[in-house]
């Protein structure tokens, strides 16, 4: 029933359009009301009143990527767990409680194993200690 699902998502499309309209309207009003005198030192990035030294687009802290990767693993895993979680109650009422519990716990054990591994590797510390980074 493609028509029905389209109807269900219609208000969301409406809100997306409204978000764009709000942003556009705010910018338009600001454009009409605010002065515009570009130039001078106000166009420089703020660096506590000094002349900026170099560009800010330099190397990132690599810890950021590690956190991002851990997040993706966990997020994908939780996305896979949602269907199991949403039929949990129904299965329990059908008398298949133990069965669904075992499935659910096996999902969670994979998640737990992942977090335990990252913890032991020291990837959950924002500042990875030197000793750990030499060991691993």
């Amino acid at each position: 029933m493609s028509n029905q699902s389209l109807n269900a998502f219609m208000p969301i499309i409406v809100m997306m359009v409204l978000a764009a309209a709000l942003y556009g309207a705010a910018l338009l009003v600001a454009h009409l009301l605010s002065p515009s005198k570009p130039g001078g030192n106000k166009d420089l990035p703020y660096e506590c009143g000094e002349e900026p030294v170099g560009s800010a687009w330099s190397m990132f802290n690599v810890r950021f990527y590690v956190v991002g990767l851990i997040f993706i693993i966990f997020d994908v895993e939780s996305v896979l767990m949602f269907p199991v979680a949403s039929i949990f109650k129904k299965m329990n009422e059908m008398g298949e409680g133990t069965y669904i519990l075992i499935i659910f716990l096996s999902f969670i054990s994979v998640l737990l194993e992942g977090i335990a591994y990252c913890w032991k590797k020291g990837d959950l510390d924002w500042v990875k200690s030197y000793k750990r980074s030499v060991d691993s």
């Binding site: 208000p11 969301i12 990035p45 687009w57 990132f60 991002g68 949602f82 519990l101 510390d125 500042v127």
Partner: protein, 384 residues
Amino acid sequence: MENTIAGYFLEFEPLQYLVQNSSAFFGFDTTALIGFLIFFIFGIVFLGFLATVGGFGTIAERKISADLQARIGPNRVGPYGAFQLIADGIKMLSKEDIMPRSADKFLYYLAPFLSLFGVVCTIAVIPFSGDFIMADLNVGVFYALAISSIVGVGIFLGGYASNSKWSLLGGMRGAAQIISYEIPVTLCIMMIVVLAGGISFGTIIDQQAGMPWNWYIFHNPFTFIGFFIFFISNLAETNRAPFDLPEAESELVSGYHTEYTGIRFGLFALAEYIEIFVVNGIAVSLFLGGYHLPFDFLEGTIPGNLLQFGTFFIKTCVLYYVVIWIRWTFPRLRVDHLMSLCWKYLTPIAIFNLVGVAIWMVCFDGQSMFDLLFSGSSHSGGGH
């Protein structure tokens, strides 16, 4: 279009009359068209309402902080400074919009929009009352989780595109913090999904109808802990103190929006204050009974819906007050403490809760702890 605000209003006599006549006039079924118009009007109403709430949030923040620090706070514009938000809005609109010369122009313009977009799209699934809901999607909770993470993209891009060192540090911290704290939030929501047996807001709220002991926060000890984990993680998701590291003014000047001026800064701030309301609304819907009154009163009528809306609003405002209260009570965390709090405390506890709830469901057949305690005397509401 069932279970939405358009479906609700289309059942009224004048609108049905309008649908019939316009269908006859145009020669095709105009139900979808009229429904679209209703969605559009109420989208504007809800958006305007939440923008006002966000504006009053800034005043509430300043008044409450003043109160907690034994100051007076803003009191010049209007009675008790109530019109301060209009003055602030006019000021934001009339300030010059400056972009750093070396900034990435496209991303710099895109960032506040993404921040606003994520929040505004989340409004669509917030259940304000039984019938005042834009879209009761069958994947409502999932949708809210997904679309609200766009805010994090906006924050990161804002930090990156400015080409300022403070902004970059703030944006990087913000992105790392928001994605990290999404894990405990997801696990806490999954706990509720296991209890409710569905991921639409309607299913979850309807099972919490009635007296406060039917609320999911009191369902069992695990959900009680889960609520606090959800609340703490949401503080971090919305960059509120004590987790406001992306905009820590004592370290990073102003964090990811250092280089933003005028209305773009205002839109960032507005999105942030609306997000606090939205996120607390989700917490109320999942754990605190949502819009339900303790008794069925005028259910389905417009006054009944307004009453339910009032209940929802008051519950959310109480949480909003707690959020502001926390900001002015606790000192800011250090960034490595922040990450270890998320990954080493909240996430394992949330997983423990999830396992606990699953075992509770199987062992006690979905009954709440009050059902078990008073099962001899009465057996009403609760799990089934």
